[in-house]
Amino acid sequence: MGDKQMTLDEFVGELSSGMTLGIGGWGSRRKPMAAVRAILRSDLSDLTVVSYGGPDVGLLCAAGKVAKVVYGFVTLDSIPTDPHFKAARQSGAVEAMEVDEGMFYLGLLAASQRVPFLPTRSGLGSDVLTVNPSLRTVRSPYDDGEELVAMPALHLDAAVVHVNRADAAGSGQILGPDPFFDELFLGAADRRFVTTEKLVPTRQLAEEGPIQTMCISRLLTDGVIETPGGAHFTACVPDYGRDEGFQREYVAAAGDPDAWAAFTERYLAADEESYQAATRVAADERAAARAAKEGA
């Protein structure tokens, strides 16, 4: 088996401006945030981001990396919307393709099956079809004659997902309760990258969890990057939950240009290791502030 290990910088080196990039996870859960942060530090631009959106979309919009977002929602889960994505949409800074989240799934599935579209009832009658005039319907060739939405394949130039464990050859293991659509993001993409909390020998995967947690096969991966804390501040159970305090700090900072500049300087300006260290300091500060308040 080949060794597919690489660094975050090597991952970024595989991307280019104008690409369509799929990002795994769901909302503020198991997002490949270390990979997103690496893109923030790069000179990449004009990306089309395809995502069950969370702070990945918000951060990339805030940094001016995005030309277009393809999504069914953008949410932080415990906070309903992402402030940067909201601002980008309201100012017209990004183009948008908003579809039903089931249509989105079928778009990835179609791309991974190499068919041009998949039929679905979802979308009929809604403004998804009017705000996306390129979407078409298709009539069943059988006696029922049903007219359904032809959800086009969402072909991706590259995709990145974050998993709990992986081996050097690119087999990925998701230990949390929901694998989301990560397998399909990889299946829909030309270049496929997996970031992982921990790189382990293949033999160890079976000790980490049952066979059904080993849901990303190396058939679907070109590169593996070990990034401990790589989903922070989104949830990556069972390794860690969402850092709600940090997420609130992210949202609060987004509301004010000076605060956002300070947030960027403190957390995002340097490399991933510096980010992880700075967020640990921030967590200690919040804990100390809480303790002081309770003691007062």
Partner: protein, 258 residues
Amino acid sequence: MTETTDTGVTRAEYCAIACAEVFRGDGEVMASAFGTAPALGARLARLTFAPDLVLTDGDAALVDGAPPLGARPDELVFESHMPYRRVFDVVWSGRRNLIMMASQIDRTGNQNISAIGPWAHPKAQLVGVRGAPGNTVNHSTSYWVPNHSTRSFVEQVDVVSGVGYARAAAAGPSAERFHEIRRVVSNLGVFDFATPDKVMRLASVHPGVSVDDVVAATGFALVVPDDVPQTRLPTPEELDLLRNVLDPTSLRDREVSA
């Protein structure tokens, strides 16, 4: 201070009962419920008149029984794995009954959670259409609006996310085949579409609310029958379940206080 009627039943409890009624008579379907009153309603229905209802843990599992609001994972009894990819199988099979929320809802039952203002240049981008387009043409869908006003009950929603009756009819038989907007529950009353032209009708007012209150808070011509009943009282058993089993910390009063 929570206003109560002379029966001592709070507005939030009437809302929970009205949401529970949405699940009556469905048998073995997956109940999905967003918001506190819908979450309580689904659990209450499961514990009383809809014992075959299938509840989720809000994450990736189906659970046995009806756990209280805010139950810890170790208090849950899992009966099946239900990750999102499988949720879509259930949606598309129709074996689901859903109460979702609406930032805007209109006379023919269109719902909006996408954007306020024109979609191309929104005044306010909301969460996005999510699963609303697919839900509404695949299985029974109802809505919960905890802040009934002329801003939420509008003549025409800005972006049709969940599909109402007129839009489903215009889209043709494939859109109408499994379409049902069963009910709208708000903090003021219960609404359905049981009119010849499938427009919103006032089905009941919660005790303490007048028909005029509802009409004044609604931004379109609501169909108001000559006799508008009151939302039914919870039974003593239902009240006990709500107060002492499902929501002992009264989360319901934080969502609806009037």
